[in-house]
């Protein structure tokens, strides 16, 4: 079985990936924290097993871009690996709004939250089974190509992570 690793930026993404894995919406794999925009790849590279059949998925936000140079430097170092960028259109709330066909306000209300911070904190603690029941997971992370094209970033042709 190919070893899969998902890299997330924030705790809410971690929660969602765990949920998607548990519901068998995405391939099984390990979850690790890593932010391509600000972390140094070497710091995590040492822990990657030396196996050729390793597949790395990076979930990235595109709303608060930090250093594009840093991001691209990290991508250069990742060239030798089998990687796939999972691009969030802006951030997780936007993705959830789109996928669940709810306005952001409706999404926040569903989680009893009045602002982004409160939403994040409640999302991490929530039981997602009920909250995301009527969402279309095919729509999740489906709109990131613009960002990749705009920044001349080539993604893997076979970037299949959904089951």
């Amino acid at each position: 079985m190919r070893q899969v690793l998902y890299f997330y930026e924030g705790e809410s993404e971690k929660k969602l990936i765990t949920y998607l894995k548990d519901r068998q919406i995405i391939k099984p794999g390990r979850i690790k924290k890593f932010n391509l925009w600000q972390d140094k790849f070497t710091s995590i590279e040492r822990t990657l097993p030396l196996r050729k059949r390793l597949k790395l998925y990076f979930i990235i936000d595109t709303d608060a871009l930090k250093s594009v140079k840093w991001f691209k430097d990290n991508l250069k170092k990742l060239k030798k690996y089998n990687i796939c960028l999972i691009v969030q259109s802006k951030n997780l709330e936007d993705e959830l709004s789109y996928m669940c066909e709810q306005s952001k306000k409706q999404l926040f209300t569903a989680f009893d939250a009045s602002n982004k911070e409160e939403f994040t904190s409640k999302f991490i603690k929530a039981n997602l089974v009920g909250k995301l029941r009527n969402c279309n997971f095919n729509k999740l992370w489906s709109r990131g190509t613009n960002f990749l094209q705009k920044n001349n970033i080539e993604n893997l042709k076979n970037c299949q992570y959904k089951l």
Binding site: S43, E45, R46, L48, L50, K77
Partner: protein, 375 residues
């Protein structure tokens, strides 16, 4: 100080055993940053040295010898040199080639002991030169005349030095003025370091929570003058840590108990600039993923001119993305033998080090036939 070469004879089960803590060629995009001497980039030394081998293959003994050397260099009377002599009827000796980064010098020290005392000491020292590569630097110290010799003919009015450096006692400088080292051995309550630091709470808490996810918080007991901490669990249980030791052991798993010492070790590395750090099977009770994660963090936090030695039995460590020269294998037949895969032609591109070990290419696997006889 940085160990470059170490020869040990007749201590523990070492017999003319040679360790090489240098490597010949820098690796492009190495996952270990700055694996060379600051200001002298041509001096490649192993910043991370992972020692692997079967049980009783000499890993801990190596740490104890190195620690004794560190103590000897600062002028301490290292009586345990006597206890660690294997054949008591013969002399035991060690030759150390090392660098003192602060004074920018390379040293060669040869010391010989019988069970009663130091009988020979010879110290050679050279200034490092930026234009010299590693080989030339090593050659320079080999070819230089000794700066100090203590033997039967040069007693310097010292009849019985015990296990103390005569050179040091006569004012010769053998190492840095304020050296840093920390040796943590696998046996309980047995470590040797120069000073104690206040625990790093976020690290201690992160490590403890990784070991035991029922731990809710770790906090300092504010009214206590000493370093006392309270660990709170999800079921409202509480445990106490005082001066790095757990008061009520039963609430923790063995791995969690050892993680407190590992957190302390990591904090020591973070707080000190450069030095020698030796962690001996301290994560033997940890899950492999936690061991990898902590080992990675330790490597990340190593400052320039540091040297980290780590002993383990965990095969997964061989699968970490580290240069092959970072691994050293030890085995004991009658005496201890050392194998450096980096020198044996196993390069970084040869990613099958684990396969070689599992196929016993290095002869480092334990012989389990005596156990299997009972099957």
């Amino acid at each position: 100080m940085i160990f470059l070469k170490l020869k040990i004879d007749n201590f523990y089960m070492f017999k003319n055993t040679e360790f090489d803590f240098t490597y010949p060629k820098k690796i492009a995009n190495s996952t270990i940053e700055g694996e060379f001497l600051t200001d002298f980039p041509k001096i490649n030394y192993k910043k991370v040295c992972i020692l692997m081998g079967a049980n009783a293959s000499g890993k801990t003994s190596l740490g104890k010898i190195m620690c004794s050397i560190n103590n000897y260099l600062v002028g301490k009377d290292v009586k345990n040199f006597s206890d660690s002599i294997c054949d008591k009827n013969k002399n035991a000796e060690t030759e150390i080639i090392y660098i003192t980064p602060q004074s920018k010098e390379i040293h060669k020290l040869l010391i010989k002991f019988n069970v009663e005392r130091l009988i020979f000491e010879q110290h050679t020292v050279c200034k490092l030169k930026k234009t010299y590569n590693l080989d030339k630097t090593l050659l320079a110290v080999e070819n230089s005349p000794p700066r100090f010799t203590y033997d039967e003919n040069n007693k310097h009015s010292v009849e019985n030095p015990g296990f103390k450096s005569v050179a040091h006692s006569l004012g010769q400088t053998l190492c840095e003025e304020f050296p840093t080292w920390n040796y943590k051995y696998n046996d309980f309550n047995n470590s040797n370091k120069l000073k104690t630091n206040t625990p790093n709470m976020p690290i201690l808490e992160a490590i403890l929570k990784s070991f035991d996810n029922s731990i809710l918080s770790v906090s300092k007991i504010s009214e206590s003058e000493e370093d006392s901490y309270i660990v709170k669990f999800a079921n409202n249980d509480e445990a106490f840590i005082k001066d790095g030791k757990i008061i009520n052991h039963e609430r923790f798993s063995r791995g969690t108990i050892e993680s407190i010492e590992v957190a302390d070790f990591l904090n020591y590395i973070i707080l000190n600039d450069g030095g020698t750090f030796f962690l001996d099977e301290k994560m033997a009770y940890s899950h492999s993923e936690i061991e990898i994660s902590i080992l990675n963090l330790i490597i990340e936090k190593l400052k320039p001119n540091s040297q980290f030695f780590y002993t383990t039995h965990n095969y997964d460590i061989l699968e970490m993305n580290l240069p092959n020269h970072s691994y050293t294998f030890m085995k004991k037949n009658k005496f201890i033998k050392v194998l450096h895969p980096g020198k044996l032609g196993y390069t970084k591109n040869d990613r099958g080090l684990l396969g070689y070990v599992k196929n016993d290419v290095f002869g480092t696997l334990p012989d389990t036939s005596k156990i299997e006889d009972f099957l």
